[in-house]
């Protein structure tokens, strides 16, 4: 990884972090309706994986989807406007936080249904294979989603048809307020790929370099026709399940602190400085990102809501 790549990765993780921090601000400031699920603490997964993708590759995202969208090249102005329900947003305000999509970037949509992306990602992989485009599809999903039956249906299908799909599990150890191990059988989620003959691994999802390298190998294999892979990334959400949940109560203070200490951004930054990258450069990146995010809030807050007539648009193509 050269210095430029490292800085890009650092920058993209920060874009997610600062974006999400601003979402919390606009939520508490009463500027946004509804809720949003923040990605803070899990940035290394989205950025590590998406930095291994081509622009024309596909991803499916989740209810906790802002990070995936940013990492795949999403535009912060349009994202923020969507979260604020404005007509300038990605979905003209009709989707909101849980449904941001940018089809032109291969972002096939965040999803309000836990496990909603399994079929779509696998279908995109089928399409890429049949159209012989050598595109790859990545399916992001949570530990909680790994208990949906459709996960097993698509793994079976992807395996027998050698589909170019990478299943990326973000194991943040909770589904809402329930600890994963209390509702999830087996030692690891990676193990679930084994009976289908799908290669899998469990990795440190807070180490963006490991995530990137693991994803790059899986994506390369998929592109060459070697079929699906499952990557389980161990990580943690620093905040609550959504902006309205303080995130304590069901998670111990020690546990939260331990993961805070493994913050994917601060650890990566320390590593970059160790490797000789100028700390001032990194501060400069942060300052620029903060400005980008502030601009996004400003432009979104100043944008209009869609006209009421728009309610009936786009029901059909």
């Amino acid at each position: 990884m050269n210095d430029e790549t490292k800085k890009t990765i650092y920058r993209n993780m920060l874009r997610i972090r600062r974006f999400e921090e601003q979402i919390f601000e606009v939520y508490t400031g009463g500027l946004m309706h509804g809720l949003a699920h923040l990605y803070i603490g899990e940035e290394a997964v989205a950025v590590g994986v998406c930095s291994a993708l081509r622009d024309d590759d596909y991803i499916t995202s989740t209810h906790r989807g802002h990070g995936h969208c940013v990492a795949k090249g999403g535009n912060l102005d349009q994202m923020m406007a969507e979260v604020l329900g404005r007509v300038t947003g990605y979905c003209r305000g009709k989707g909101g936080s849980m449904h941001i999509a940018d089809m032109s970037l291969g972002i096939l949509g965040a999803n309000g249904i836990v496990g909603g992306g399994f079929g779509i990602a696998t279908g995109a992989a089928l399409s890429a294979k049949l159209r012989k485009t050598d595109q790859v599809a990545v399916c992001f999903f949570g530990d909680g989603a790994s208990n949906q039956g459709v996960f097993f249906e698509v793994m079976n299908t992807a395996s027998i048809w050698d589909l170019p799909v990478v299943y990326v599990c973000e194991n943040n150890q909770y589904g809402e307020y329930t600890a994963t191990d209390s509702v999830t059988a087996g030692d690891t989620i990676a193990d679930r790929a084994k009976p289908f003959g799908i290669p899998s691994s469990t990795i440190d999802g807070n180490d963006v370099v490991i995530v990137h390298e693991t994803a790059a190998a899986a994506v390369a294999g998929a592109r060459e026709g070697k079929g699906p892979t499952l990557i389980e990334c161990m990580t943690y959400r620093h905040r609550g399940h959504h902006v309205g949940d303080p995130g304590d109560g069901y998670r111990s203070e020690e546990e939260r602190q331990a993961w805070q200490d493994k913050d994917p951004i601060t650890t990566f930054r320390a590593r970059l400085v160790d490797e000789g990258i100028d700390a001032e450069d990194l501060d400069g990146i942060d300052a620029a990102v903060q400005e980008e995010v502030a601009d996004a809030v400003e432009s979104a807050a100043g944008a209009p809501y869609p006209d009421v007539e728009e309610a009936t648009h786009h029901v059909f193509a």
Binding site: G93, K94, G96, N111, Q148, T178, V183, Y250
Partner: protein
């Protein structure tokens, strides 16, 4: 004689009704996502897990098809499970279990099987939760023979109808509008079970019948107040259960007033409003002075942004306008 009245929210009524049935019958269990220590994502079930423990208040994996199916199997073999579908939209994931299994086992087995399963599901828009967390899908269930369908509008009705659901020997869908959880109402200290298929005349009137379901009853009340100022007297009829449906009360009221407006939060087309309108036409045709008006959600997925979301759901203004146009 009725016991003294007290104030209670819709959400508290749901919890109290569940607790009462669980105390009464050990075979009643509650299963769903985050129904345990978390007390549901709406926090209305807090305390049940402590009282009844993890064997009877069970956190399930996120696997709707699986745990609703478990509910069917447990019901078939002697339990009286209550399963919780956090957002009614997720019913879609469990539809085979509900429609092809629970609803039909009794019939297909020639009367051998009994499936005393209660499926609680939320409904209703209004929280800026967008298209996959806001639908009102009670028409789906009402279309399937073998399912009973309850759409309560007040805490007192929850307290009366929920025990009937649990004690019924058939699968029952119990729809709770999540926008009403915090709404207060009065209820007697102890409530007798309310039989299914008995509509409630929530307000008596003489000029027009407003037939409203679930949270639309509140909309009807607001409209009735406004219309009263203009000297228009509204009767509000709440069917309370879609299946079985109390056609007599609907027909009687519409025959008396000669006018009917139907208000339901499901999508207007092919929905509950169409069925209720037909029932009233069939029974009250000779007494109607104007075509029935049915108000429902716009035939669109529920949009996220507030101004659009608000526009898709029937509100007080829509009802007032409909009544005034109807009465000329």
């Amino acid at each position: 004689m009725s016991s003294p009245e007290r104030e209670i929210t819709f959400g508290e009524a749901v919890k109290e009704a569940i607790a009462t049935e669980m105390r009464r019958d050990e075979l009643v269990i509650l299963m769903g996502e985050d129904v345990g220590a978390a007390g549901s994502v709406f926090k209305i079930l807090l305390g049940l897990h402590e009282e009844f423990g993890p064997d009877r208040v069970i956190d399930t994996p996120i696997a709707e098809a699986g745990y609703v199916g478990l509910g069917v199997g447990a019901a078939l073999t002697g339990m009286r499970p209550i399963v919780d579908i956090m957002f009614g939209d997720f019913m879609a994931l469990a539809m085979d279990q509900i429609v092809n299994q629970a609803a039909k086992l009794r019939y297909m087995s020639g009367g051998q099987a009994t499936v005393p399963l209660t499926i609680r599901a939320t409904m209703g828009a209004g929280r800026s939760s967008a298209a996959q967390h806001s639908q009102s899908l009670h028409a789906w269930a009402s279309h399937i023979p073998g399912l009973k369908v309850v759409v309560p509008s007040t805490p007192a009705d929850v307290l009366g109808l929920f025990p009937t659901a649990v004690r019924d020997d058939n699968p029952v869908l119990f729809f709770e509008d999540k926008m009403m959880y915090a709404v207060k109402g009065t209820a007697p200290e102890t409530v007798d079970p309310i039989p299914f298929g008995v509509a409630d005349v929530k307000r008596e009137g003489s000029d027009v019948t407003l037939i409203a379901t679930s949270s639309m009853v509140l909309v009807a009340f607001a409209a009735a107040e406004t219309l009263a100022d203009d000297g228009i007297s509204c009767e509000i009829v709440d069917p309370r259960t879609m299946v079985p449906l109390d056609t007599d009360t609907l027909v009687q009221s519409a025959s008396k007033t000669g006018h009917a407006v139907i208000i339901d939060e499901g999508c207007r087309s092919f929905g509950v409003g169409a069925e209720l309108a037909s029932v009233v036409y069939e029974g009250a045709f000779d007494y109607l002075d104007a075509p029935i008006v049915r108000l429902g959600a716009m035939d669109v997925p529920v949009p996220f942004t507030k101004p659009l979301e608000d526009a898709t759901i029937p509100n007080e203004t829509d009802v007032v306008r409909a009544v005034k146009e109807m009465l000329g």
